[in-house]
């Protein structure tokens, strides 16, 4: 397990009033792996994503446990430091800066990881090849993009920031089935090109089953099952058929 990019150990999150959203969750994701966390509404998927990204606003939220990315302990760090450590979080909503242009959104993602202008030009070209629609709409405010296009922009931003880990929460939320396929295809492509670890949370098993190389099931704040490799397919053969 030493080659794991993300290593989560016994992370618990409880909200004021005693609600336990996440109960000693542990998981690990290696480079090139796409770990999918499935589970019903309110199971704690979003809390898990946010705990990894350091995005748990509010002082009274209690977080314990260890989150390591490439061996560095990130639990308790602020989101900016976590981002600089190589974590790119794509939240469920408000994943782009709506009044900034597409180009500015991309630029913001890039500049934070200071790199030289030659690779920047290569990146620009690469992004506009991967996401042609973004190239066409460079000067438009990101808020004018459709839901699927905003998700594409979020993925392009992820690509620009060259992360070690992409955490993506409900990428299929509110999108038409055909758009979901495009978005997940783009995610797969970004993940493959960067050889990045991906932690994806989704309610919808059917959408993500072809993507998953590792699967976690979450229920009432607990990670209760994990499958890897061929077992993922078997799991879906059992559950996916029912869900359908």
């Amino acid at each position: 397990m030493s080659d794991a990019v993300l290593e989560v150990r016994d992370v618990s999150v409880s909200y004021p009033g005693g609600g336990v959203a996440l109960d000693r969750a542990s998981l690990s994701v290696a480079a090139g792996e796409i770990a999918v966390v499935v589970g019903p509404n309110g199971a704690g998927k979003t809390t898990l994503c946010r705990a990894v990204a350091g995005y748990l606003p509010g002082e009274r939220v209690r977080v314990s446990g260890s989150v390591k990315v490439r061996g560095a302990e990130l639990a308790g760090k602020d989101p900016a430091n976590i981002a600089r450590a190589g974590v790119c979080f794509i939240p469920e909503r408000q994943k782009v800066f709506a009044t900034l242009t597409v180009a500015e959104n991309l630029e913001l993602a890039r500049r934070q990881t200071a790199r030289d202008p030659r690779t920047a030009a290569v990146d620009d070209e690469h992004v506009s090849r991967m996401f042609p629609i973004l190239g066409e709409r460079r000067t438009q405010p990101a808020g004018l993009l459709s839901g699927g296009e905003q998700q594409m922009l979020a993925l392009a931003r992820a690509f620009m920031s060259r992360p070690a880990l992409i955490v993506i929460d409900e990428p299929s939320l509110g999108l038409a089935p055909v758009v979901i396929q495009t978005v997940l295809g783009a995610l797969r492509q970004v993940a493959a090109e960067l050889n990045v670890a991906v932690l994806l949370a989704d309610q919808n098993i059917i959408n993500t089953r072809e993507l998953a190389t590792r699967l976690y099931e979450m229920r009432a704040g607990e990670l209760i099952q994990s499958q890897t490799g061929a077992a993922v397919g078997d799991y879906f053969a059992g559950h996916g058929a029912q869900a359908r």
Partner: protein
């Protein structure tokens, strides 16, 4: 895109030449208004930096003007410094005050921050009043003539040229910053502070720099204004004035580049020429001189409400649409490009 640069540059140059020409030919009363408006424009641009671009509401504008003015006064009268050094002292004092005010913005925003800056206004005004009373009693400070090297600014024309140069320099610096990385990060913070942080931006320092730079420029405007008027007193820096500046930004277009300049000109001209307008309309009998400031407040309120209702992006958005319509007919530029293009030219 490159091809489209030159008509815009040409328009800017023509406007600039017209402005310099206007300073030479305008009658004295109008020139005084224009000078006042240009100073207001500097402060309004600065306010737009925090309010429009970084999304931090500040009602402390009049107080920053006061700090700038008093800083310059102290520099000139008590530290015996020259005009340029004194206005720099005023601007730096305001910037330091700005940093202090900005510190709470790490934790609070929106209405809470606005109330914070409101109390800052009263604290500063009280402090300035105490200092002023201790130093000159019940009278106002009187400033020496503004001298830059061999040049002494006495005539309204010489002041007009100097203020216009200052406005252009401030605008170019402000524009450059906003079109580059700081501007992007500021707007990202306005848009979604948490996501800005998750992009790896240290948002604390960016908020601080936005506030510091803004109050530096407001302080600079306050300091130069004190020299321009040759006098300064705490009584000029009312809450009304702070609201007037907010109105300038909103009317011109929050978050636009040049909008606040337009807003500053319109509202300064309106505020200063109300009495004349009443005279012309024969309303001088109805509205007594003592009441013009009430009418002014009412008009500012009405204009604010109208802008928010009909064009929340302000006059800049209206002008930009007008510009688009003209550009669409422009023989060389067939592509539709927003005047207020915020992206970097590619």
């Amino acid at each position: 895109m490159r091809r489209l640069m030159w008509p815009r540059l040409a328009v800017a140059l023509v406007l600039l030449l017209l402005a310099f020409g206007a300073i030479e030919v305008l009658p004295v009363t109008w020139l005084d208004l224009v000078n006042t408006a240009m100073l207001a424009a500097i402060a309004a641009l600065a306010l737009n930096l925090v309010m429009g671009h970084t999304g931090l509401v500040s009602i402390g504008n009049a107080a920053f003007l006061a700090v700038g003015a008093i800083g310059a006064v102290e520099g000139a009268l008590y530290l015996h410094q020259s005009f340029p050094v004194s206005i720099l002292i005023g601007a730096i004092a305001a910037a330091i005050a700005g940093v202090i005010v900005a510190l709470p913005s790490f934790r609070i925003s929106g209405l809470y921050l606005a109330v914070g800056t409101l109390s800052f206004h009263f604290i500063v005004l009280y402090a300035v009043q105490q200092v002023q009373t201790a130093q000159v009693g019940a009278s106002a400070y009187l400033l020496p003539l503004a001298t830059i090297g061999p040049l002494t600014l006495v005539s309204l024309q010489s002041w007009g040229r100097a203020i216009l140069v200052l406005l252009v320099v401030v605008f170019l610096a402000y524009r450059t910053l906003l079109l580059r990385k700081p501007g992007r990060v500021w707007r990202a913070i306005r848009e979604n502070p948490l996501m800005a942080e998750m992009s790896g931006a240290a948002i604390g320092p960016y908020k601080l720099s936005s506030f510091a730079l803004s109050s530096f420029l407001v302080g600079l405007a306050g300091a130069v204004q004190a020299y321009y008027l040759t006098t300064a007193t705490y009584e000029s820096y009312t809450l009304d004035l702070a609201v007037l500046y907010i109105a300038m930004v909103v009317l011109g277009g929050m978050g636009s580049l040049y909008g606040p300049i337009v807003g500053a000109f319109l509202l300064t001209l309106l505020a200063q020429s109300l009495e004349r307008i009443f005279g012309v309309l024969g309303l001088g009998v109805v509205v007594s001189t003592a009441n013009t400031f009430l009418v002014r407040g009412m008009l500012v309120g009405l204009i604010l409400a109208a802008v928010i209702l009909f064009e929340p992006r302000g006059l800049a958005a209206l002008l930009s649409r007008l510009g688009d319509a003209i550009l669409a007919r422009w023989p060389v530029a067939r592509t539709r490009v927003p005047i207020e293009s915020r992206g970097q030219p590619t």
